[in-house]
């Protein structure tokens, strides 16, 4: 195998358009490029001059899959800039919305995108015939996420009801309770999903990059924390408001998305379900923790391929957590009615954990509440540099052991999909 170029144009079963090129010479990886060819839509520039009322509506459209996360992140930035405190109930409903998107995303990613890799099919559709029960149950799980998002946000993607300071509409107690029951009933299947993915054979290697996740004392945060943590090569905790001081974005010619590195040490890093589990393992619910341990996933878990299992564990955790939140909300305490908004000049940074990692929106407003400057970074953009390093590592390892080009190619695609990249989101 003197010189081989492995190229996959339009990596399938990922959200968005990406190509990968790996050049191997005499068993040594010479070059890896993760080309992000998604059309640029210039969100950071187009929101300039627009009212805060429109900002979250527009930035929701950065990504269909992560729309709930982008909306909540943007609203948090707006609220920080204007000094708005949201009610406890609003925060809980937001968490429900974010988790709804976790259920949608993880189920879609694991089954529609990832599973075909492990059953040697091009798509999920053959599974409808070969294993109709699994297919039906997987769709049911994803459907539950959709319905939760629809109930809370008004539709399954691009939530309608979430606005600065609260929600314009909320479902009744009976619906919350019905959801709680459904969530709990779905837990056993989610546990099976963890087992299923734990059983898939993956290459054994470890990422050399760092990791980034939201952290919160005694909680597994997805939108409720104001603290971020880098870990791996030294732990570094900082306020979400300072996110862009610690994350360094840079432009490369083969990608429409900006790449990112940890500012303090210049290393690439991973932000994903795997990073969350590593950071907040202690705060996973009991059922999820047991499922995770049983699957052999416990910190430090550094094989990026394990992100699939990590997502499955999060499914278990999300179901239980959502059921609890639903029961709490059904008690009807507090209100989600949007808090009054008084625009003023200022800067706000919103950070949440999107299904595939940390998303940051930084917005600067003038005194009329119009955007002066916007900076947005998405988990996939942050992951790209690390992904390239991991591909180099994996391909090198396989090439060294004389693996065929076909298998290297398949494993590289598997790795890319394990990161659950959201490419259109990364080029925004």
């Amino acid at each position: 195998m003197p010189r081989t170029t492995i190229s996959v144009d339009h990596v399938a079963r990922v959200e968005g358009h990406g190509n990968v090129h790996v050049v191997i010479e005499d068993g040594v990886v010479k070059d890896v490029k993760m080309e992000i060819v998604e059309p640029a839509r210039m969100f950071e520039s187009m929101v300039k001059g627009r009212s805060y009322k429109e900002a979250s509506y527009i930035s929701s459209r950065i990504c269909g899959i992560c729309s709930a996360s982008h909306v909540i992140t943007d609203l948090k930035a707006v609220e920080q800039a204007f000094g708005i405190e949201v009610s406890q109930r609003t925060s809980m409903v937001r968490e429900l919305l974010v988790y709804g998107s976790y259920l949608q995303n993880h189920a879609a990613h694991l089954f529609v995108f990832a599973t075909p890799d492990f059953i040697n099919e091009a798509s999920i559709f053959p599974l409808a015939k070969s294993n109709p029960d699994l297919f039906a149950k997987a769709l049911e799980l994803k459907g539950l996420g959709n319905r939760l998002c629809t109930a809370v946000g008004g539709r399954s993607i691009h939530p309608i009801t979430a606005v600065a300071g609260g929600f314009t509409h909320e479902i009744g107690a009976a619906e919350y309770l019905a959801f709680a029951d459904e969530m709990e009933a779905m837990v056993p299947f989610a546990q099976d999903v963890v087992d299923l993915f734990a059983g898939f054979r993956i290459c054994d290697f470890q990422t050399q990059g760092d990791m980034l996740a939201l952290v919160q004392p005694d909680y597994y945060p997805v939108q409720s924390s104001d603290t971020l943590r880098f870990f791996g090569d030294g732990v570094e905790e900082f306020a979400t408001a300072d996110a862009f001081d610690h994350i360094s974005e840079y432009q490369v010619d083969h990608s429409g998305a900006f790449f990112a590195k940890r500012a303090s040490n210049g290393k690439p890093y991973m932000t994903a379900a795997l990073a969350r589990i590593n950071a907040s393992w202690d705060h996973l619910g009991k059922t999820a923790k047991i499922a995770s341990a049983k699957a052999g996933l416990r910190p430090p878990a550094l094989n990026p391929m394990l992100n699939n299992v990590a997502q499955a564990v999060e499914l278990v955790d999300a179901l239980e957590r959502c059921a609890r939140i639903c029961r709490e909300l059904a008690k009807g305490e507090g209100s989600c009615t949007p808090a009054p908004v008084r625009p003023k000049a200022g800067v706000g940074v919103g950070v949440t954990e999107a299904p595939r990692g940390v998303v940051v929106h930084k917005l600067e407003f003038d005194d009329r509440g119009c955007v002066v400057k916007a900076s947005i970074t998405t988990p996939t953009a942050q992951n790209l540099a690390n992904l390239e390093c991991d591909i180099r590592l994996l391909a090198g390892m396989l090439a060294e052991s004389g693996t065929s080009e076909r298998i290297i190619r398949a494993e590289v695609e598997k790795l890319i999909r394990a990161y659950d990249p959201c490419i259109s989101c990364s080029v925004h």
Partner: protein, 322 residues
């Protein structure tokens, strides 16, 4: 939840009913697809059942008339309905192709022919496109007949002057064929039929035969003649001033594109045909056929029940008719 949000409007969550008979005690309506009625069924009984329910009819013959027009022959599958179906010239039926929709089409065959009816259909939109692709033996749904047709009873014993433009020949053909089948009940019958080009002239053979047999005085006219054209050239109004006609004894019957009416009526009035002896068929999109849905309204009149055939006096009294 998703469905309730989806419901296009409103929140009347009650799934709706399909109706045949109303049982006033339980407020329940039932439908039997074939109908559970005594035989034979009168036309009135046919309509007295759920008037929104189309009845299956089979296409039994298709004739290509021009590039864009076909003549379809239909027969109801249920014999009782086939026998009960009676129409008047100028009336229309609602044709259903389920999934595609429903469209009002005027009946082109004479009431004197029983057991089947014919529709002359121009390919003009999504519905007629699908209908044109159908084959003999295919099934459609039919409701009707609806509307007020030409006043045959009044016309009997008198002269009749029919003026048709383009597809307007479709409803008039029903009248003309009917007259032909009871030819002795009518006096002098004149037909003026205008088309854009010779290739768009429909039912030419039939007309030629009648002309040959001197059943009717026939004026076929086109706007753009070709080399083989031996008929007239020009507007349908052109022959009217020179016709031999007895104004007190003549009924006019007009059907054609909207712009035609004004001019034809003018010429007929010049010949002193009375306001209420000039009958014309209006084109509107009748959706229900029963004077409810409003789509075919002209002023305060409903084309589907008060028309589609109006006399000129009535039409003059409708705001916005011409």
């Amino acid at each position: 939840m998703m469905n309730s949000l989806r419901a296009p409007f409103g929140n009347d969550g009650h799934v709706c009913e399909c109706a045949q008979h109303i049982n006033s005690i339980s407020g329940r309506m039932e439908i039997d697809p074939l109908g559970n009625y005594s035989y034979p069924l009168s036309g009135q009984e046919l309509m007295a059942m759920n008037p929104y329910r189309p009845w299956s009819a089979r296409i039994t013959s298709i004739t290509e008339l021009t590039e864009t027009e076909k003549l379809f022959e239909f027969r109801f599958i249920d014999e009782r309905i086939r026998n009960a179906f009676r129409h008047k010239p100028g009336q229309f039926v609602e044709v259903s192709i389920f999934g595609v929709g429903e469209a009002p089409i005027s009946i082109s065959s004479s009431p004197t022919k029983e057991g089947f009816f014919e529709l002359c259909v121009r390919r003009a939109g999504a519905f007629t496109q699908v209908l044109h692709e159908m084959q003999c033996g295919d099934i459609v749904g039919i409701r009707g007949p609806f509307g007020r047709g030409f006043p045959l009873d009044l016309m009997r014993g008198h002269d009749v002057l029919c003026v048709a433009g383009g597809l307007g020949i479709a409803p008039l053909r029903s009248l003309i064929n009917n007259i032909h089948d009871e030819r002795s009940s009518f006096k002098k019958v004149t037909i003026i039929y205008g088309s854009r080009t010779p290739s768009e002239v429909m039912f030419r053979d039939q007309f030629e035969m009648w002309r040959h047999r001197k059943d009717f005085d026939l004026y076929l006219t086109v706007d753009h003649p070709d080399d083989g054209w031996d008929g007239h050239v020009g507007l349908v109004t052109a022959p009217i001033p020179t016709l031999e006609l007895n104004p007190n004894d003549t009924f006019g019957a007009i059907c054609g594109p909207p712009v035609m009416y004004k001019f034809v009526v003018e010429e007929m009035r010049k010949r002193n045909i009375s306001y209420d002896h000039i009958y014309m068929s209006f084109e509107r999109h009748m959706k229900c056929g029963m004077g409810k849905c409003g789509h075919c309204q002209i002023g305060h009149q409903y084309c589907c029940v008060d028309g589609p055939v109006f006399n000129y006096w009535e039409a003059k009294n409708i705001q916005g008719s011409m």
